[in-house]
Amino acid sequence: MKKGVMRPGHIQLRVLDMEEAVAHYRDLLGLIEVDRDDQGRVYLKGWTEVDKFSVVLREADSAGMDFVGYKCVNEGAVEQLRQELIEYGCKVEDIPEGELNGCGRRVRFDSPTGHMFEIYATKEQTGKWEVGNRNPEAWPRNLTGMKATRFDHCLLYGPNIAGTIDLFREVLGFDLAEQVLDGEGTRLAGFLTVSMKAHDVAFIEHPEPGKLHHASFYLETWEDVLRAADLISMTDTSIDIGPTRHGLTFRGVRRWRLPLPGPRTGDLGRGAAGQGDLLP
């Protein structure tokens, strides 16, 4: 049952070196740098995204994900879900409007896998980057790098994914699109959707809590994917796997995947490349 959650809206990532991280996300992936705040955080988005930002980078002494936030249809839905999260047993924290530049109040909550999630409904809408609403051209002329169009989803690793999947289904109104079970019926992976996308978030069972495997950004065509692969080669950027396809939530074009400068997943090494995709 839909509960008013619309889609993934933002993700805050911890990076070790902001200069290197901005070179990666802005110059190579082609995200647009839209703001910086007095904490030194850098805000970015894909050029097609209407809301002000979808990626926030924070410099820290370890790499990974601080939280991922889901946008709801209105503040009433956020308030209703906040009550349901408390009743479900989540530890809920209210983040005031403006803590992230241009974003309204957020409700942050924990999960059995050790990840922090947020829901919110209000964010400044600055429009598609450089094309505007009035007789817009087809695309901005001065995009860089891979020209990533928007934040798509993330894959998270942690223990007890069954618990977090239940939370997303029962409280937030996500649907389980696909899952992977072992011979005893234990769930090893789950892909959930709350929109018309094949998945909006995925979980894989892993003993270390709160891990980020990857955040992904949408490219429209196979040619875009190959061009991105060229750029990975041209910039000598570490690559985990791809370009390739996989069977789960198959959608025709499989994106390549970069290890972000940071997140460790237990299988990020070159030797084990692709297990996250191929193991199921």
Binding site: L16, P259, G262, R264, G269
Partner: protein, 125 residues
Amino acid sequence: MSSQIGNPAVLADVHQVRVHDETVQFKASSAVNLLVAMEQARESVIGIGCRGGGCGKCRIRVLDGDYETKRMSRAWVTEEDEAQGIVLACRIFARSDLTIISEPLPMAYGYQPGRSSSLQQAELK
């Protein structure tokens, strides 16, 4: 000594890197990080992961020699580790000849193993 990292005015030196208890040696330019130097020498004595100081895959101990470091994830190299010469190879730059030894992390239960076993899995299919 001021940092040479990214300073074009400083000409790169080449240092010799010896792997403790092994015959492997490779040359490392002071201008590139130790992991890249190892890759350029076509050696494989250090694990390769994110190459960005975050994943801990290239954790080593420097037994002898001088080096400069960039920021490394505290998840894999604590301050105590660093004081003992434990570093991530992708974040250090040789400033003299070095002697190193691989210092991999204890693997968590469920850690997905590397290439050899994934190839076995592929062959089973």
